[in-house]
Symmetry: C2
Subunit: 262 residues, 2 copies
């Protein structure tokens, strides 16, 4: 028998969704009814409910049930949470070592979103709250994420315009493309007053299990603390931390949930 909770409807929901797999991605009402041993009428009402929330959808062609788009959204979110969870301790160490603010960001639909941050130990620091969204062309983290997007996406971003946010924001398409090429070449991005007056940043990519960039790890702070040679030191530290996160991500992040859940 299946694990059961105190809310039967949820047990049923899980049972139903668990029927959908790569091997058997679509079901008719009768098939599902037989498989689960649930009367067709009950199941039917249930499936309709799932459909109104786009958890399931009925193929217009063959009228069979398939997963809808909502699990996709949830999955995306859960993936971000996993990343956050894994990155957190590494970020804390990096923040302690550098004394500056450490940021974890992802690219999402023409914006760069801050997933996690660990504050600088100093009173004067760069403040970027979790959840903040920024344009993808300004700042080290943004640029590193943009650099590894497919060409068409870069094109689309440029076509939407490159607003000036601060003194050094790159607003010229040609200049930006050159910068991105250099970033891909070097594997890191730096910025000085591209987003905020008196602020600098460095960032390196976090790689996913298939060799794609899934996020950026950045260090940021006020210019007056940035002494000669410190940038390179931070780049190295940042890359090491990012690689560590990448490593954990696909060392045991795949398969049956890893150390996650219960």
């Amino acid at each position: 028998m299946r694990e059961s909770s105190s809310v039967k409807t949820i047990d049923r929901l899980v049972e139903i969704l668990d029927c959908f797999s790569s091997q058997h991605p679509d079901w008719s009402l009768t098939e599902l009814s037989a498989r689960l041993g649930v009367p067709k009428s009950s199941l039917h009402r249930f499936l309709l409910a799932l459909e109104t929330h786009s958890i399931l959808r009925r193929d217009p062609q063959d009228r069979r049930w398939r997963l809808g788009y909502r699990p996709l959204v949830w999955g995306q979110l859960a993936a971000h949470h996993t990343l956050r969870l894994i990155a957190r301790p590494v970020m804390e160490r990096l923040a302690a070592e550098t004394g500056e603010t450490v940021l974890l960001t992802v690219y999402e639909n023409f914006e760069v979103v801050c997933l996690e941050k660990v504050d600088s130990t100093h009173e004067v620091r760069l403040a970027m709250e979790v959840g903040t969204r920024r344009p993808p062309h300004a700042g080290a983290s943004s640029k590193i994420l943009m650099a590894y997007l497919p060409e068409t996406e870069i094109q689309a971003i440029i076509e939407r315009g490159l607003p000036r946010l601060c003194t050094n924001t790159i607003t010229d398409p040609t200049e930006l493309r050159a910068e991105l090429a250099q970033i891909r070449d070097r594997g890191y991005a730096v910025s000085r007053e591209e987003t905020d007056v008196g602020a600098w940043g460095v960032a390196t990519p976090i790689w996913g299990p298939r060799g794609e960039v899934v996020a950026a790890l950045g260090i940021a702070g006020p210019l007056f603390r940035l002494t000669r040679g410190l940038t390179q030191e931070y780049v190295v530290k940042c890359r090491q931390a990012a690689e560590q996160i990448s490593h954990i991500l696909w060392k045991n992040g795949r398969g049956k949930g890893g150390d996650f859940g219960k």
Copy 2:
């Protein structure tokens, strides 16, 4: 007010899960209760139920609620279904043009899984059912997927051993690595009797929105129908089809669900 279905528990579930976002990834019971206007006692029982199914999890540190690993699994599945849906019509055209079986496969946890297939029009044909799993080192589709995995994953596959499935299965690590390098170089894979006697295959990669390989599109059939020069013709056709799928995938596949759902 929110869209409601005939099963209230599901409405509530969706309401709850929708609270979790990049901006606000964790909630305490009280916060959620206030946000939703649901009594703490009811909500509490509900959250516990979600926890037993790993839909939510409580952070051991701060005891706040976060998304669990199950949405991750569902999301992965839903993503595969989207891919399937998009690829299907293109695959049908390809099958009609070539008269051979067309396959859509993804790499998953040391195996290659068949997500979708369109049968050859001929009576004598390669049969590979949806859901079939195969080792990742033999056959055109498998090799193309393996070729674009990160180096460590390739290493891991090789370390697990390269069993011989058929006459021409590549079982030597060095030879396989050379083959994979050539595949990356050319952008397509071919095979002759690597998995089944009398069978051939060609395959090309399907690219995702971030420039990573998300799946493989393959054509396969019996050797006796493979006349001189046909391989190259199929490679070209296969690549065109794969690129078309890639294109649709990130032309309108991202953002707010696209044409998917309702």
